[in-house]
Amino acid sequence: MTTRHDLIVIGAGLVGAACVEAAAAAGLRVAVVESGTIGGGATSAAMGHLVAMDGDAAELALCAYSRSLWERWADRPEAEFHRCGSLWIASSEEERARIPARRAELAAAGVDAEAVDPHGLYALEPSLAAGFHGGLRVPGDAVVYPPRLAWHLIADACRDGAELFAGVRAEQLTDDGVHLADGRALRGPVLVATGAALPELLPELPMRARKGQLVVTDRHAPMVRHQLIEMGYADAAHGSDAASVSFNVQPRPNGQLLIGSSREYDATDAAVSSSLLQRMLRRAFDFVPALRERRAIRAWSGFRPATPDGLPYLGAVPGRRGVWVAAGHEGLGITAAPGSARLVVDAFLGLRPALDLAPYRPDRVLRAAA
C-alpha cells in the first residue's frame, strides 16, 4: 500500500517545517515524516538568535536573505519574535580595528550595522564590565522561540492538506521514495532535513555533530537589552577547536537570560559537561559580572549539524534520483531556515532561486572527495 506525494520532507525541525511550508504554499501535495517530537532536535536546543553572521560571504548571503524572509513570521505570536538587535563586543583594540571592515561586509549583504564607541557601548549596556573597546550593533537581528513555530508551521500545512507521519522513522530511501520503519512506503521525491542525523539516510554526505550547551536563568528585571556576543565568537564558530567557549548572552522577552556558548566536536553524550559549563559561565562573568547573582534554572545540550566547510547542504543529492537535502546549518539553522527552504523548494520546482545555489550544493563535498 503506497501513497504518492509531490514532495516527502523528512525531519520536522525548523528547517524541515519551513520546507513543508514553502512546498505547501507552492501547491505541492506534501508528506512530512518525523520520528520524534516536532522541533525536538537542534530546533529545541537552539538559542533562537536571528543573526547576520559575517566572515564567510556565502554564509552571510544566506543569513541576510533568510533574515528578510523571517519578517513574514515576525507577527506570528508563536514565534515570540523580539527585535532586540545584536551587539558584538570588542575586547581589544585589535578587535575594534576590525569593526569597519565587518560593517562594510554586512552592508554589502544589505545588513545595517553601526559602530559603537566605548562610551556608546556602556550607554547601551551599562551592565558590561569595564574595559571594553566598543562594539558593532546590528539592530535588525532578533531573538525567537523556534520549536513552537515549527509545530505551528506543520499544523498549518496539515490543515491545508499536508500529511504528517509522526512517531515513525524514515528507514531507507528507495528509488522512488522512502520506506518507513513501520512497513509503510511513501512514493515521491524526498527532501531530507534531518540535521545531525543526516548520515542515517545519506551516509555519503559528511556530517559531524558539534555539541553545544546553554543555561537559562529565572525571570528578573532586564539586565541586558541586546543579544551580546563577543567579537571572537565568529572565530570560535568558524574554528575547529575540539572544545571551545565564547560569550553569548540573550535577553528573553520574559526577563530570562540565555547564556552560551560552547562547541565540542565528537561528543556523543547528551549529558551537560560540568567543566565546559563552568568555563562558559566564567567567560560570561568576564563580560557581565552581575550574571554571577542570577540563578540558573536549567542547563541543556544540543547537537549542531556541522558540515566540513560549515555551509549547509542545499539542493539535489548527486547520484540519487529525486533526493534533495536541506541540512547542515551548524549554529545558523534557525536564522537560515526560511531562506534555505525557499531556495531548495524553488530549485526543486525548477524556478530560479534568489541566491546562486552553487556554494551550498552537496556535490561540492563529493567533488572534493573524488
Partner: protein
C-alpha cells in the same frame, strides 16, 4: 568552596532524615545531614516561630550535635555526580562526598488547578500552614480549609493556633469513605489518639465531608469560595482558602542519581527493596519519597535506612513490623481519601495549569506527546521545572510535560550562576575510581 566527606550522608532533615542520621550515628559512622532549610524539621516538623517544634522533633534536632552529626542547613542540593553532591550553603558552594547516601527528600504539596486557584489568597493547605509557622499573619483572617486528607486537620489546627478564624473544613471524600476510615482506625491506636486530639483542638470548626471546593472568586484577590455538595452549590465569603489535595513524593534527586523510580501509580516514587536500597549501589531511601506514608512511617523507615547505611542491618529487625503497620495505615488513608473523579475535573479550558509560564489547560490538551507539550506550550519550562504543573497534570490524567528521554538538565533546583561556576566538580584526572 568547601568539600566534605561523610560515611553516611542524609539528604532531607524531616522526620525520616533525622531518624536516619541518628540511627547511622549510633553506630559511630561519620554522618552529615543536609537540608535546604536553615532549621531541621522538614515540612511536618517545620519550626514554628511562636510555638517552636513538637517535642519529638526538638529532642532529635537538639541532639544532632551530641550525636556527632554534622548539620548542613540552608544548603539545597542542586547537582549530583558519582558519590558527590553539590549545593550552595550560606558560606558558598559545598561539595559533599559520601560512601552511603540516604535520600529522605520527603514530599511536596499537590496543587490541583480549579477556576480561581491562582488568585492571591488561595494557597495550599500545607503552604498556608508553613507560612503561619514562619510568622505570616493569619490572626483574625477568615480562613476556609478544603481539599482532602488528614493534612487539612493539621493545617486547620495550626492556623487556629495562630489566631485565624477557621470556619470550615471541607473534605471532598464522602461520608461513606470517612466512616470506613473511622471503622478501621482502632487498628492503629496511636492514630486513633492523634485523630481524637486533633478533633478536640478543632472542636468548634465545622467539618464537612462530601464537600468539594470547585472555584475561587474575586477580582484582585479572593473574596468567595464556591463549594459543591450533594445538595448543590453555595458561595462562602472568606479571606484565605487553604486548599490541600494531598502530597507528591520528591524524586528529583533520585532521578538525577539514576535510582529506579516506580511509575506504576499516579506519581513516581523511589523504588527500594526490603532493605530500603535503591537501584544505585550505596543509595538508600526512606519516608515520603517512597510513597506517601505519613510521619510514623517516615520515622521508622528513616531509622532503618540509617542502620542499613551504617552497615548495621541487625538493628532493623525490630523496625520491620512497625514499617509494615505504618505502610498499611498509609494504604488505608490513600484508599479512603482518594480523590473523586469530580475533583479531577474542576479545571476549565481557560484555567491555568502552569503558573510559571501561564499555560491554560486547553493548550496542554492539544498535545498527546509529553515533550511536545513542553516545547509548544512551555508548560513545565519555568522556575518550578514541572514540579507543580507536572504533578497536577498527572493527577488530571493528562500527560505531564517531559524532557527528552535521555536528557538530565541540571540544576535540580535553581542555583546561583556563581555557585554553579565555582562548584568543585569531580575531575576524573585526579585518579579517583
Amino acid at each position: 568552596m568547601r568539600v566534605r566527606d561523610f560515611e553516611v550522608l542524609v539528604v532531607g532533615a524531616g522526620p525520616a532524615g533525622l531518624a536516619a542520621a541518628h540511627a547511622a550515628a549510633s553506630h559511630g559512622a561519620k554522618v552529615g545531614l543536609v537540608d535546604a532549610q536553615l532549621r531541621a524539621g522538614g515540612q511536618v516538623w517545620r519550626h514554628d516561630l511562636r510555638f517552636g517544634a513538637p517535642k519529638r522533633a526538638r529532642v532529635q534536632i537538639a541532639g544532632l550535635a551530641a550525636a556527632g552529626i554534622a548539620w548542613l542547613g540552608g544548603c539545597e542540593i542542586a547537582l549530583a555526580e558519582d558519590r558527590v553532591l553539590h549545593g550552595e550553603g550560606a558560606d558558598g558552594p559545598m561539595s559533599l562526598r559520601w560512601r552511603a547516601l540516604v535520600l529522605a527528600t520527603g514530599a511536596r504539596e499537590l496543587l490541583l488547578p480549579f477556576p480561581g486557584w491562582t488568585l492571591p489568597g488561595v494557597t495550599g493547605a500545607g503552604g498556608l500552614q508553613a507560612l503561619a509557622k514562619q510568622g505570616w499573619p493569619v490572626a483574625g483572617k477568615r480562613v476556609l480549609v478544603a481539599g482532602s486528607g488528614p493534612l487539612l486537620l493539621a493545617a486547620a489546627a495550626t492556623l487556629k493556633r495562630h489566631g485565624a478564624c477557621v470556619f470550615g473544613i471541607h473534605e471532598q471524600a464522602g461520608p461513606a469513605a470517612l466512616r470506613g476510615f473511622a471503622a478501621r482506625l482502632p487498628r492503629w491506636p496511636g492514630k486513633l489518639a492523634q485523630a481524637a486530639a486533633l478533633r478536640l483542638k478543632l472542636f468548634d470548626v465545622p467539618y464537612r465531608s462530601g464537600s468539594l471546593v470547585v472555584a475561587a472568586h474575586g477580582e484582585e484577590s479572593l473574596r468567595e469560595v464556591e463549594i459543591e455538595t450533594r445538595t448543590g452549590r453555595r458561595r462562602i465569603a472568606c479571606d484565605l482558602l487553604a486548599a490541600g489535595w494531598g502530597l507528591v513524593p520528591n524524586v528529583e534527586l533520585a532521578r538525577v542519581l539514576g535510582c529506579r523510580l516506580d511509575d506504576s501509580g499516579t506519581h513516581p516514587h523511589i523504588a527500594v527493596d526490603d532493605d530500603l536500597r535503591t537501584s544505585r549501589h550505596g543509595v538508600y531511601a526512606a519516608g515520603e519519597a517512597l510513597g506517601i506514608g505519613g510521619l510514623d512511617c517516615a520515622r521508622v523507615e528513616g531509622a532503618m535506612a540509617g542502620h542499613f547505611a551504617a552497615g548495621a542491618p541487625q538493628a532493623t529487625q525490630a523496625l520491620r513490623w512497625r514499617r509494615r503497620q505504618a505502610r498499611a495505615f498509609a494504604d488505608l488513608l490513600r484508599r479512603q481519601f482518594a480523590l473523586r473523579p469530580r475533583a479531577r475535573a474542576l479545571a476549565a479550558a481557560d484555567t491555568l495549569v502552569c503558573r510559571c509560564e501561564d499555560v491554560a489547560l486547553s493548550s496542554v490538551q492539544a498535545h498527546a506527546d509529553p515533550r511536545q507539550i513542553r516545547l509548544v506550550t512551555r508548560c513545565g519550562m519555568g522556575a518550578c521545572q514541572g514540579r507543580v504543573c507536572g504533578a497536577a497534570l498527572r493527577e488530571l490524567g493528562l500527560p505531564a510535560p517531559s524532557l527528552s528521554a535521555t536528557a538530565t538538565r541540571p540544576p535540580i533546583f535553581p542555583m546561583r550562576l556563581a555557585a554553579l561556576a565555582e562548584a568543585c566538580f569531580h575531575e576524573p584526572s585526579q585518579g579517583e575510581v
